[in-house]
């Protein structure tokens, strides 16, 4: 829960923190949004990331980080309220719509997001991207899955292995 920020909000402007991507781009973002990351939350609680300091994130490039923050900013209000006490069905539908749009992205970005969400421990984002990839697998043949997931075309050797495996694992198919 990102409750700790509630105290800061009383003094007018919300507290901001700076995050620095692996390629040295600085992102200024509300502490409440960044705190969706369990990894960052402790640092921020300790007062880190404010002023000129910034929190370096050597594992996340700027393209991925901006995407991550887009998610965090959208989800922060609900999370700050501990899951949105007054969330109406409309609010929830809006978040859902946002999430669906959000993962409708290029595969390479999606895979970077999986890694970033994992490193930053953003639970909701981890579930969201994992589910997106799972959806890409559902209801497809092995070759279709390979293509959808962006695997390189199998070598003849690999193809033979796949066929052999299909036979061996017939019990999961028939």
């Amino acid at each position: 829960m990102a409750a700790p920020e509630s105290g800061d909000g009383n003094n007018g402007a919300a507290r901001m923190v700076t995050l620095i991507s692996s390629d040295n781009t600085r992102f200024e973002v509300e502490a409440a949004a960044a705190s969706l990351s369990q990894t960052l939350q402790l640092t921020i609680l300790d007062g880190g990331g404010g002023g000129g300091d910034g929190i370096p994130l050597p594992n996340v490039d700027s393209a991925t980080l901006s995407k991550v923050l887009e998610y965090c900013i959208k989800h922060a209000p609900a999370a700050a309220n501990g899951g949105a006490p007054n969330a109406t069905a409309v609010d929830r539908a809006e978040l859902e719509r946002f999430d669906n749009e959000f993962v409708n992205i290029d595969q390479s970005v999606l895979y970077s997001l999986i890694m970033a969400a994992h490193n930053l421990e953003i639970e909701g984002l981890q579930s969201l991207v994992a589910k997106k990839v799972a959806d890409m697998i559902k209801g497809k043949s092995p070759m279709e899955i390979r293509r959808t997931l962006g695997f390189p075309d199998p070598t003849p050797e690999e193809q033979a292995e796949m066929n052999a495996h299909m036979l061996e694992y017939g019990w999961a198919y028939e």
Binding site: G83, E161, W171
Partner: protein
């Protein structure tokens, strides 16, 4: 295409030799397993043919989801498939989560199959089990199967829970922290579990009366119990509780019972009544805040014995604890419980609480 930041996280394990890993396959096992947790069991097994990297991943996937849907392209001999799945899994890998139905309506597997899968999962250190029965055929659980140091979360829908099971869970499942019961028939008389921290009961029938005694319970949600409301004791640790009653769902018997013999039933709860005056204010405030600000008789509220625990007083209005409330309200709507208030038209005699706003058939008695 792979970017350097990802490299340090690549498992230096078995597949490091394969140079042409696609980006997805380059992710650590834990993340690929997480993806698999959103797939059904047969889809997980089938990933083994995708590439070498995926060959053995299925065998240690932490989640086994055997819920068979009508449109699923599952193996024909489903029971045999599930048996093989458990047999051929990596024996050292825990089945963290098992999700299943109690039987298949089209006959692909029966109750005994489902029971054997539960046993298999418990044997493999299951931490979480979700069992869904059928609206027209409640799942009955084999209580003797529930002996586990690992079982932490049990979620049941359309199941019957009797005293044997309640007792078994409280005495033989010392790690059980969360129980989530939806549309269940609770034929046992007491839930008594010292390890329990979260208890959710939605649309559960407690016709025979149910006492909940859980000294370490932190979060309690009891939404529209059927036939009777439960009584509580030893809830000293509760931080957050939501109770929504719908008197339309109470039997006429219970109405009489509650009026005539209520004094007896409140004894257990006296300890909670002693200094809850502060709570009443907070309660009113909270109701306004959440839009359920209709009044109900404070007298009835107190005498019913389902009122606020004094434990709620201190942090009753903090946002930390209000969210479950709307979640519950939403859940209720999602599960087909309409807050329409139309029962007053159908049967005015059940309006014992005198509620009259948009949601007159639900009464929030506990804190959010």
């Amino acid at each position: 295409m792979r970017r350097s930041p990802q490299r340090p996280h690549r498992r230096a394990g078995e597949e490091a030799a394969a140079p042409e890993l696609d980006r997805l396959s380059a992710l650590p096992d834990a993340l690929l397993h997480r993806i698999m947790s959103s797939l059904k069991a047969w889809e997980v097994v089938r990933t083994c043919v995708l590439a070498r990297r995926w060959r053995h991943l299925w065998a240690s996937a932490p989640c086994v989801d055997l819920r068979l849907g009508a449109d699923d392209d599952a193996p024909e001999e489903f029971a045999r498939f599930a048996r093989r799945l458990f047999r051929r899994r990596d024996a050292s890998a825990a089945v963290d989560t098992l999700r299943l139905r109690s039987s298949d309506e089209d006959g692909a597997f029966d109750e005994e199959d489902a029971r054997s899968w539960i046993r298999a999962a418990i044997k493999r250190k299951a931490r979480e089990i979700h069992l869904i029965g059928h609206r027209n055929g409640l799942a009955s659980l084999e209580h003797t199967a529930f002996v586990s140091r690992h079982l932490k979360i049990l979620k049941l829908s359309y199941a019957q829970v009797d005293d044997n099971l309640f007792k078994q869970l409280s005495s033989r499942c010392p790690s059980l922290e969360e129980m989530d019961l939806k549309d269940c028939l609770l034929s046992g008389s007491e839930i008594s579990a010292s390890s329990l921290k979260t208890l959710t009961m939605v649309n559960c029938n407690m016709f025979w009366g149910l006492t909940i005694s859980a000294p370490n319970l932190v979060l309690l949600r009891c939404i529209t119990p059927i036939a009777q409301a439960p009584s509580f004791k030893n809830l000293d640790s509760v931080v957050s509780g939501t109770i929504i009653l719908d008197d339309y769902r109470f039997s006429g018997d219970f109405e009489d019972f509650s009026k005539d013999e209520l004094d007896e039933t409140t004894n257990d709860d006296d300890e909670f009544d002693s200094d809850d005056d502060d709570d009443s204010d907070a309660d009113t405030k909270r109701k306004r805040k959440s839009g359920y600000g209709f009044g109900f008789s404070q007298k009835r509220h107190k005498s019913s014995g389902y009122n606020n625990r004094k434990d709620y007083g201190s942090d009753i209005d903090s946002d930390d604890h209000t969210y479950q409330y709307s979640e519950i309200a939403n859940e209720c709507v999602e599960s087909g419980y309409a807050c329409s208030g139309n029962n007053s038209k159908k049967d005015g005699s059940h309006q014992v609480y005198g509620g009259n706003s948009g949601c007159s058939d639900s009464k929030i008695l506990g804190g959010p």
